[in-house]
């Protein structure tokens, strides 16, 4: 009797909770700790600000930390797919992690939106990468912006010093390509580690090559060290940085040595300075308002913007997918993928997304601006 009651109760609970199955489950893996934590933390904070309901369906976010570790990112992804039965995976923060996750999501036919930069994550769109999308601008777009700016400023020779890892290598490759297009010669190519306490050797070598401009291929505060050392040794040429440095901590650590540095960035960095006609201005300001509302003035960084854009794509795709299938089913995941691929004119914090079957990034030139560091702040440069 007792057992029967229990069984009935269970059946009732299952029966009542049935509508809850129609919730959309979103699995998230970000690098909230480890070397990429300065990118992962604003991303995690942004996830918490995303819509809890889309088209009448509850959205559940299951957020896991992969500690900037590739293995952990894959484990997280498999766990999210098999245990939490997620409809889509967002993440991860870094390129190596995102590349490693592709196998896991394509096997289970789950769409994924990466917040890492490398073009290799979504290009070329093959059987596996059919399921993969990403929000950050490709490095070549940013590298071209730098090369164009250099050419316009009359730079003939440039030097490069970047991280001794995939970030630095990737930037060296893209930057070389961009320089070639603009007929600028690369005269020095050096590496340093994020944890290095001195880059004197590399800087001496660069100064020996006498370049007109130097690009530092680093992300976050470690990118300040080569520039400080160059200044200390009296290098008088032009300084360039990548968009990987666009946060307030970089300005704090670099201090006055950063004055006059140029970098390409997502428009969100200088949203308030953008001309009113700029199509990204409104959507970028919207993100800043939401984020700073929750975390205080000046807390926003461009990295969180990539997570925000992933959320906007999701918001655009879910209603479309819901027309064809119910959440929690393979059909829904497939429908969600198709809907993401069909996303048009989604205005995000970093640009306007127009996805297609061959372009799983969907950003164009509107997704980048040149910025100059002036008086310890970011100053929008009108390059037209």
């Amino acid at each position: 009797m007792q057992l029967k009651k229990l069984a009935l109760l269970c059946a009732a609970v299952v029966g009542f909770s049935a509508p809850a199955w129609a919730d959309v489950n979103v699995g998230v893996t970000v690098s909230a700790t480890g070397p990429a934590a300065s990118l992962g933390i604003p991303e995690r904070n942004t996830i918490a600000l995303m819509p809890r309901e889309i088209a009448g369906h509850k959205i559940n976010y299951i957020v896991l930390d992969d500690a900037s570790d590739t293995t952990a990112a894959v484990t997280n992804t498999r766990k999210l797919i098999s245990e939490n039965k997620v409809d889509i995976v967002l993440g991860s923060t870094t390129t190596p992690n995102s590349l490693a996750m592709i196998d896991a999501v394509s096997e289970s036919k789950t769409p994924m939106i990466s917040m890492a930069a490398s073009a290799a994550i979504v290009e070329p769109v093959d059987a596996k990468k059919r399921w993969v999308f990403k929000t950050p601008q490709n490095d070549i777009m940013m590298a071209l912006a730098i090369a164009e700016h250099m050419a316009a400023a009359g730079v003939k020779t440039a030097a490069y010093i970047g991280f001794a890892d995939a970030y630095g290598e990737g930037w060296h490759r893209e930057f070389s390509k961009a320089l070639e297009l603009k007929k600028i010669k690369l005269v020095a190519n050096e590496r340093f580690a994020r944890t290095d306490t001195s880059v004197t050797g590399q800087v001496l070598k660069i100064m020996g090559a006498k370049p007109d401009a130097v690009l530092v291929g680093g992300s976050g505060t470690p990118a300040a060290l080569p520039q400080k050392t160059l200044k200390e040794r009296g290098y008088a040429g032009k300084y360039y940085q990548t968009h990987g440095v666009a946060n307030a901590d970089f300005l704090r650590v670099g201090g006055k040595d950063l004055e006059g540095t140029f970098l390409p960035a997502g428009p969100v960095l200088v949203a308030a300075q953008l001309p009113v006609a700029n199509p990204v201005r409104k959507s970028a300001l919207e993100y800043i308002q939401v984020y700073e509302g929750a975390h205080g003035k000046g807390s926003v960084s461009t990295f969180g913007g990539h997570a925000w854009d992933a959320g906007l794509l999701l918001k655009a795709a879910v209603p479309v997918a819901l027309k064809n299938a119910t959440p929690g089913t393979p059909e829904f995941r497939a429908a969600l993928r198709d809907a993401l691929e069909g996303a048009k004119d989604v205005a995000g914090a970093h640009g306007i997304f127009n996805m297609s079957a061959t372009d799983h990034l969907g950003l164009d030139q509107r997704a980048r601006v040149m910025v100059k560091i002036e008086n310890g702040g970011w100053k929008y440069q009108d390059t037209k």
């Binding site: 590496r191 001195s198 050797g201 020996g208 505060t221």
Partner: protein, 342 residues
């Protein structure tokens, strides 16, 4: 490469080598007295540098809560040991777990140091007691375990301390103000006041340690413990106390290194690990037992790093850490392995 560049690289290598030398000395000291390969040594460097940076921006280093937590935990452990009938040396316990942390709290919460030397003092008071507290909480219960077990504990402790560092200080690094803004031009070489401070303090610490071990009774007792633990105990040397003391010295040396490098480079919550690791390579050159050889090893690591960053910057780390292979090979040929049983 001309002579000028070579001289600049040598200079850079010496300044970096000085920091590795301090790390190596602390590692040799801790290993010879307690047989612990103290991997978290570098964490004291990062803690001290980041605490100093926090003080300079007018914030209270959250590290204080960690210190007070450790002290409270340590007192609880000692009380529990007494309840179980073990003999507890309350005099030293009160010194490490009450007096010093209280002094640190007083400095940070009441005095709120503004002058630089007071801030330095506050940071040293904050970090130094962490050494003996870590020893009491993590290593002393295992004092008779094998070197391997102690190493495993070290790795675990390192991971925990790096995680706490991230929690307390955040992912982005900091820089502190230089102790000296002076700079001189000597025949085309730029010599900064800060690099002279680094060299001067390192030399001072090395000389002080030499006198401590050669001339004072406490230092001699530490050396005796290092040579033969059982023998030292039979001579009436409290070996648990020498553990406290060697860890306190290691933490102090780590804190000093942290204060020294924070103005010349950006320090992150995990910077300490690589600095400690390079100090470890230097200590291995000295067989984890010889102070002069460890010093020489540190200078070698510094030069190797400086020159390889000029010639092959992409392979710098590889070159520095590969140094350990010929050194180990040479040592394995030249030393007779003696299994020392206690």
């Amino acid at each position: 490469m001309d002579l000028q560049i070579a001289l600049m690289l040598v200079q850079d290598g010496i300044v970096n080598g000085a920091i590795y030398a301090l790390m190596a000395l602390a590692l040799v000291l801790v290993f010879s007295v307690t047989r612990v390969i103290f991997i978290p040594q570098g964490e004291f460097v990062a803690y001290a540098a980041l605490a100093m940076a926090a003080l300079q921006t007018g914030k209270l280093p959250p590290l204080l809560w960690m210190l007070l937590g450790m002290a409270a935990l340590c007192l609880a452990v000692e009380a529990a040991r007494q309840a179980r009938g073990a003999e507890v040396d309350w005099k030293s316990t009160l010194f490490w777990a009450v007096a010093l942390p209280a002094l640190a709290a007083l400095m940070l919460l009441v005095v709120k140091p503004q002058a630089m030397w007071l801030q330095v003092l506050a940071v040293l008071l904050l970090v130094t007691p962490m050494g003996p507290l870590v020893y009491r909480l993590a290593y002393r219960p295992l004092a008779h375990a094998t070197v391997l077990i102690l190493l495993i504990v070290s790795v675990a402790l390192h991971l925990a301390m790096v995680g706490l560092g991230l929690f307390f200080f955040g992912a982005e690094g900091s820089r502190t103000d230089a102790f000296s803004e002076a700079r001189w031009d000597v025949g085309g070489l730029t010599i900064t006041g800060q690099s002279l401070v680094i060299l001067g303090v390192t030399a001072l610490l090395v000389v002080a340690m030499y006198f401590f071990f050669e001339r004072t009774i406490v230092g001699k007792a530490l050396r005796a413990t290092a040579i033969n633990r059982v023998g030292a105990r039979l001579m009436g040397i409290p070996t648990a106390l020498s553990g406290d003391l060697s860890f306190a010295l290691a933490a102090l040396i780590g804190a000093v290194s942290g204060l020294l490098i924070a103005p010349v480079t950006t320090v992150y919550y995990d910077t300490g690990f690589l600095i400690g690791l390079k100090g470890f390579v230097a200590a291995i050159v000295g067989g984890l037992s010889s102070y002069p050889l460890a010093l020489a090893g540190a200078l070698l690591v510094g030069q190797l790093e400086s020159f390889s960053s000029f010639w092959a910057s992409a392979f710098k780390e590889v070159i520095v850490f590969t140094l350990i292979i010929p050194v180990l090979w040479w040592r394995s040929l030249n030393t007779h392995h003696v299994e020392d049983e206690e």
